[in-house]
Symmetry: C2
Subunit: 384 residues, 2 copies
Amino acid sequence: MDNKQMLMIPGPTPVPEKVLLAMAKHPIGHRSGDFSKIIAELTANLKWLHQTENDVLMLTTSGTGAMEASIINFLSPGDRVLVGNNGKFGDRWVKVAKTFGLAVEEIKAEWGKALDPNDFKTLLEADSDKTIKALIITHSETSTGVLNDLAAINAAAKAHGGALMIVDAVTSLGATPVAIDDLGLDVVASGSQKGYMIPPGLGFVSVSAKAWQAYETATIPRFYLDLKKYKKSTDEDSSPFTPPINLMYGLQASLQMMKAEGLDAIFTRHQRHTNATRGAMKALNLPLFAPDNAASNAITAVAPLGVEAEKIRSTMRKKFDIAMAGGQDHLKGKIFRIGHLGFVCDRDILSCIGALEATLIELGYEGVTPGSGVAAAAGVLAKG
Amino acid sequence: MDNKQMLMIPGPTPVPEKVLLAMAKHPIGHRSGDFSKIIAELTANLKWLHQTENDVLMLTTSGTGAMEASIINFLSPGDRVLVGNNGKFGDRWVKVAKTFGLAVEEIKAEWGKALDPNDFKTLLEADSDKTIKALIITHSETSTGVLNDLAAINAAAKAHGGALMIVDAVTSLGATPVAIDDLGLDVVASGSQKGYMIPPGLGFVSVSAKAWQAYETATIPRFYLDLKKYKKSTDEDSSPFTPPINLMYGLQASLQMMKAEGLDAIFTRHQRHTNATRGAMKALNLPLFAPDNAASNAITAVAPLGVEAEKIRSTMRKKFDIAMAGGQDHLKGKIFRIGHLGFVCDRDILSCIGALEATLIELGYEGVTPGSGVAAAAGVLAKG
């Protein structure tokens, strides 16, 4: 149906009407006093969302631009880094790190499984000369719905003492606690079209004091993504280059909404939706791709048996106007992914599960008991 | 007056209501067939605006990101390049080029004067070994309102034969002909918040076949700004990374408006507004900062005598809700700049001149004959 699409993909995520209308305001000059006030408000609220006193910088980039900035500002060619790789975005970290000449040691896990913190620990404990300069990992692996054990991997980095902890939190920030200050995360990259509830076009990077120290000796050249330029301007409630003014109007509205809801309530809501979605999949005999103990709060990946994932997606789209994501790379056609990240309410979960049930029945999927998925989800949602 | 501001700065420029409302549409998935159609339309219309069959690529960056991409994809550390520098954005070219290790030879002119094409010609003619790899210039120098002689400088490059012609057309594209194919310009960078009539957040780079050849041997590392990734995706009506969907909705609307107006009409309108504005300044005895034979069609810089530029700007802003730009760097407080770029109609020019006259009278500026500025502007506008 025209104009009726519902996004249940991991980005772009649903955008509140308040945000859409805020973005339709006419831009003002980005060097004006009025815009400085907006930058000051955004910076304060971003620190709140990031649970940190570190700098949180706004870049005009996608999430990948924020990832690149997180590497090139703090490392030098030849630097030894451990890079977690258990999905498409771990793989992207590897590619970025290799592009800029880092000595990459990949810590791998099968797609759909979590990284093993002991793999990091073993290498870090053996590194008595402190040659490892950074650990680089993806927190929530969007391609598989796996949540890596950030706290455990970070603990290994902290025991080592020398390595920076660099994290892609693109689909965890705003969905799952990313306790930057409590854990001591050095560099955290994210993107706007995810938990921030606004369209794509803004990247975010938080930077610790330890990372700024590393900046001073890092030699990879950078200009547009030179984070010191952003810090200097942000400290003056300004921006080094022309910022995406209208997206920032949207961000202003979305952060105000998030503050009104509260961080704990936001995280609880995402956890509830994850539990409801996973409970429904189990009731529908649909195999979950990520294990219960490593499930992302942003996205649930499902590997259906006996019915094609792409047929499920196309039926959901055509008949019920729901967009779900497919598998990426070698998982194409093998899984579908339900995004429940950002501006998603309990009703949305029931809508999606209800439509999925109807789709499975239409496609002749055996083993589905009509109503069982919605009932399981409703049971979880009822607990609040 | 609240909500009443009129932008006469060189960016962000005024945005049509159609564009603002297009940006307020809910995003759809950027990997969907419907979005592919939008990318295909944008790409075709961008080629029309750029007057080229070359690739025109869209980046999620400010104009500076597009400038950096224009250098790092086609050159290698140590490459000898001639960089024109007669203002803040020429200076930015120098900084970017030096950051990435190029052997920069600056061709300078005083701020407010145009680059001398002979300065390039002399060096190029002496370069029998073809060691010069690129000429890098700013077409319309936003900081001073000077239009550099692109055709003459480009002719020197063409006579040399070996050097790439790399151009910052940030405030010329959409205001002044940038005849990429007719001239054979290799790399042209621009940004959305200028002649494109949309807010900031998108950068554009056009790339010639000769530049793609240079790409193959260029060794500066790049990932997020790797233009080959953008070309590969654009050829498939897609994008390598998540694009700024809502800004692209806006661009779709603005390019449709521009096509309806027609390229010649757009350029004629900008020329008329430049002539009207400059005529008015002369009638008001306000010294123009750029000479008549090197005047940008996007922006008119004025160096008032006997009255402070910043007082003029603040009165215009407070009393008439018109935002004009000030001077940058050493020109701070010495000039003001009137932007007449993008979505500007004849009425806007009269509004601005009328308010400026009133402001000058209020500030006790001697030598202003009430009505003379508006009369001069109206005289030019009457000629159509």
